[in-house]
Symmetry: C2
Subunit: 158 residues, 2 copies
DNA sequence: ACTTGACCTCGACCGAACTCGAGGTCGCAT
DNA sequence: ATGCGACCTCGAGTTCGGTCGAGGTCAAGT
């Protein structure tokens, strides 16, 4: 019952995973090293991936696009049953968790955008009257580190 | 008219700027090196900043939080009149530019969030029926580099 | 005059998220 | 059995956004 010569194999090589997911093989090994994905090995020590890894990768990429670090993603994924298909409950828990994070970020962005717009109205020549430039809520805290969300669109700004 | 002994001096030392803006002095020098801010020097070679630098810094931080790179920010700031108070027209141009970028990002995030939510509904046990996991539009392209938008909220996820 | 703290430069280092290259093995087709 | 591409490991290199430390100067208070 291990499927005939079908075109949907149960195990995938790293090359197949890379092509199917669009994630470079170098990154796949890197993710494995960081504990985001796992793999079995063939007799000859070559990686073989369960098809589920594709779902996991899509999840990782999605989360990354939103600005979560690999560590955060790894931790979140760790709450899912190791290596197997998660239950609806698992997903719900995770989804709710991230939804909150997403909501917060969307909210922050919208506030910023709205302020910027208001800024046009105020002329922004006076520091006092400009909401954007008065560091009240989000501008207050300055955390260390070097955040960056690469613009996917080549040439939006600049 | 170089103001008396007031508590709002026209020029600020790097330490003052750092305290007032919340940006570490190391970062201030770094920003200067990267052309995001400028400073004059005293006879003894110490930096003195115009008060306007605070506005500029708030702007930089704001833009950074949204995920723009220092280079993008620098380029945008470069469209403003060098070192002087920008006109309303200047601001309008810049604001419009970034508003588009912001809108796009907000939009992407919202789509992701909505998909995640829909995902809960679908149970997410099947790759085929799950929108989130099917890489259509935004998941398609995988760019190089190492993007990251640090979560400001300590302990949202993880 | 002296001390103290804030400031200067410059180069090294950090962590995140990867990529690249060297040198070697696996496995499949011919 | 031979060739060839896809795979392996491991260490070094890259970019971004900074921080740190050494070694030295400036400026203000006593």
């Amino acid at each position: 019952m291990v499927g005939g010569v079908g075109k949907l194999p149960n195990v995938l090589t790293i090359g197949e995973v890379s092509r199917r997911s669009g994630v470079p093989h170098t990154a796949l090994r890197f993710y494995e090293e960081r504990g985001l994905i796992t793999s079995e090995r063939t007799a000859g020590n070559q990686r073989k991936y369960a098809r589920a890894v594709l779902r996991r990768l899509a999840f990782i990429r999605t989360a990354q696009r939103v600005g979560l670090s690999l560590e955060e993603i790894r931790d979140a994924l760790a709450t899912l049953p190791a290596g197997r298909t998660p239950t609806k409950t698992d997903w719900t828990r995770l989804s709710n968790l991230w939804r909150g994070e997403l909501d917060a970020r969307i909210d922050a962005m919208q506030r910023l955008r709205d302020r910027l717009t208001a800024c046009i109205g105020c002329g922004c020549l006076s520091l006092k009257s400009c909401n954007l430039m008065n560091k009240d809520d989000e501008l207050a805290a300055y955390g260390p580190g070097a955040p960056r969300l690469r613009a996917r669109s080549e040439g939006g700004i600049g």
